[in-house]
Each structure stands twice: as structure tokens, then as C-alpha cells.
């Protein structure tokens, strides 16, 4: 597809998602509470969007990923929370 065709198809959808991201970050900033590893990972992933290259989706996924390679001794929850927690003791168990 030509660039204009891509924009014709996806620009408004992407614009709406970008606006949602801005509103989400505003919401987080208005809220009180301690630091959270998920927000740190989110900001790291967000920074990937302003970098060059045609593999931004991949780099966003890598920013959230567990970088370790060994199996864990035992799980503390069945669910994933979306971001790797470098200090698992801070993890809030998910349903």
C-alpha cells in the first residue's frame, strides 16, 4: 500500500489510540500512590515509539518482556500482568 492509503485506513484509529494514551497517563498522574513497575515499563515502551526503524511493535513488546531465560521455581499466580517485575515481591497477585 502507498503511505497515503495506510493513513486513509488507519490514521483516525491511531489518533484515537494516541489520545487514549495521553488521557491514561494524565489519569495516572492525577492519582496518588507509590511507584509501580508497570508504569516504568510503560514509559520505557512508549519511548520506543519516538525511535526510528520499522520494528516499533516488536521493541514495545520486548520492553515489557521478561528478559531472564531460566524457568522459575514455582508460579505465584496463573495470570500475567503485562510487564516484567524485576522485584517479584512487589507484584500484586492477579485473579
Amino acid at each position: 500500500m502507498k503511505r497515503q492509503q495506510v493513513l486513509d485506513l488507519y490514521f483516525l484509529e491511531a489518533r484515537a489510540k494516541l489520545l487514549d494514551l495521553g488521557a491514561f497517563l494524565d489519569r495516572v498522574e492525577r492519582a496518588s500512590g507509590p511507584e509501580d513497575f508497570r508504569l516504568a515499563a510503560f514509559c520505557k515502551a512508549l519511548a520506543e515509539l519516538s525511535q526510528g526503524g520499522a520494528d516499533k511493535a516488536k521493541r514495545v513488546l520486548l520492553a515489557f518482556s521478561d528478559p531472564t531465560r531460566e524457568p522459575i521455581p514455582a508460579p505465584t499466580t496463573k495470570s500475567a500482568c503485562g510487564a516484567f517485575d524485576p522485584q517479584p515481591s512487589t507484584l500484586n497477585p492477579q485473579p
Partner: protein, 270 residues
């Protein structure tokens, strides 16, 4: 448009979904064994589930003229209890000769634990001993990359396993290359909130090609869309993909992989 839904948990869906799938061109549906949303209390629960997958569900689908196939296993979410897993694995050979059983799946990892990996290796051994196809689930979100690499290692470590007879499902942009480069098939799961959206799945096809790739809805009891495959086909058409390219991805590719099981007897109208 005709398509194969190669991964759908129809026991969690209503009958109207069967009708909608058929009306959208579905030619066959394949159902891997899955987590019920709660842990089953004993191997007996799995026995009943395997009967449901091999007896009741094919009959329900047949009411709409839709061929229904299945895969059997204890899923990774219940694989932490190795003793339970051993009991469930002992049940599976009794079901493998049933006419709609395609292989072992969806096995894999959930939280990438040692016990999950042990149970994965037990399943791989079972598949190898019975010459079965394998369908693999990869973990969610932050656990996916690590889990996918552990799974590839486990499969490669068993010399009896032919990668061309294994599909590794739920790939995304950071795992698809690992899977394809290791010679396996790759599945893209179309979910509204996680895994792949339609647009990203088509991006992956445009980036990595359409060989050894399929798309599925993996519709289950959670947020999912049973018609995600035909909806994605429509989006491919909007992006200028021709009828032959769409047909290859949603019909011919799954047909090619699944026909490695002699049971996948499907008459696809030309």
C-alpha cells in the same frame, strides 16, 4: 470466502456462534483442550472433558454441517501439579484413536515454571511415541518471549520431533521470527485486547511472508470474537490482498498443516 477455524474453544460458545461461523464460510473447526477457567479437581474431570471434545461437541457442530476436530492434553494452566498431569496423560492414549482427534494440544507453558516445563516434556514424549501432531500454546504478555524460547528448546531437544508437524500458537512480533526460523509453523491469535489485532496480524504476514502461518480466533469463555478470522480476511481485502493470498492464509495453510493427520478428512469445494 471459505476458511478453517484451526483453534476455537467451542465448548465455551453458544450454538449461535456455530451458525454465524458457518454462514461466514467456515469449513471446519478444531478445538484444543483448554483450561475451564477453574482448576479441575481430579483426572476424572479431564476424562469427562475428553469425552465432551470427542463425542458431544462433534455432534453439536454436525447439526450445522460443520466438521469438528480436537486436540487433547492437560493445559499449561493446570500443569503445576505433576502428579495430576501424569494421571491425565495416562488417559490420553485411550482417546487418540477416536476419529476426530488430531493430536496433542494445546500444550506449552503459562508462567514458565519448572513443573510446567516438565509436563510439557511429558506431552512431547507422548506425542512422539504415538506419532501425533502437536499444537503449542505460548504464554501471555510479559512471559511470552521467554516461554516461546523455552518451548522451542524443549521441542528441539527431542530428536523425534519434526518441526513441520508442530504449530506454535499465539505468536506476536517479538516471537514469530524465532518460531519460523526454527522450522515450526506459527499461529496468530486474533484477540481484541491481547495477542494480535487483525491489523497487526496482517502486518506480520506482510513482513514475514505467508508460509507456515495461520490465523485463529481462539474464541473461548473470555473476551474473544468467533468470527475474527473472516473479519481479518475482510481487512486484508481492504489492504489490497488478492483472493488467492487470502485463501492461502485462511484455508490452504491450515488445510496443509492439518492434513498431516489422516483424520482431517475435509472436502474443500473448489
Amino acid at each position: 470466502m471459505r476458511y478453517i477455524e484451526p483453534h476455537a474453544h467451542m465448548v465455551s460458545r453458544v450454538t449461535d456462534d456455530y451458525r454465524a461461523m458457518l454462514a461466514s464460510g467456515c469449513a471446519a473447526v478444531c478445538e484444543p483442550a483448554f483450561w475451564a477457567g477453574f482448576d479441575r479437581s481430579s483426572a476424572d474431570g479431564f476424562y469427562d472433558y475428553f469425552c465432551q471434545l470427542t463425542e458431544h461437541e462433534p455432534k453439536r457442530a454436525a447439526r450445522f454441517g460443520l466438521p469438528h476436530f480436537c486436540w487433547l492434553c492437560i493445559n499449561p494452566k493446570e500443569a503445576e501439579d505433576v502428579t495430576l498431569a501424569e494421571e491425565v496423560l495416562a488417559l490420553i492414549p485411550k482417546f487418540l484413536d477416536r476419529p476426530t482427534v488430531l493430536g496433542i494440544g494445546e500444550i506449552g507453558l503459562n508462567k514458565n515454571s519448572r513443573n510446567e516445563l516438565k509436563v510439557l516434556e511429558m506431552h512431547v514424549d507422548l506425542a512422539a511415541r504415538h506419532n501425533q501432531l502437536i499444537l503449542v500454546h505460548t504464554p501471555h504478555l510479559e512471559d511470552k518471549l521467554k516461554g516461546t524460547l523455552l518451548i522451542i528448546d524443549a521441542l528441539k531437544n527431542d530428536r523425534r520431533i519434526n518441526p513441520g508437524r508442530v504449530i506454535i500458537d499465539h505468536v506476536e512480533e517479538h516471537t514469530v521470527e524465532h518460531v519460523l526460523n526454527a522450522g515450526f509453523w506459527a499461529g496468530m491469535t486474533l484477540y481484541p485486547e491481547s495477542k494480535c489485532t487483525s491489523a497487526r496480524a496482517i502486518d506480520i504476514v506482510e513482513t514475514y511472508g505467508n508460509e507456515r502461518l495461520w490465523m485463529n480466533s481462539a474464541c473461548d469463555w473470555g473476551v474473544s470474537v468467533p468470527l475474527a478470522v473472516p473479519y481479518t480476511a475482510l481487512e486484508m481485502r481492504k489492504r489490497g490482498h488478492g483472493a488467492a493470498a487470502i485463501d492461502k492464509l485462511i484455508l490452504q495453510n491450515p488445510l496443509r498443516f492439518l492434513s498431516q493427520s489422516a483424520k482431517f478428512l475435509l472436502r474443500v469445494e473448489s
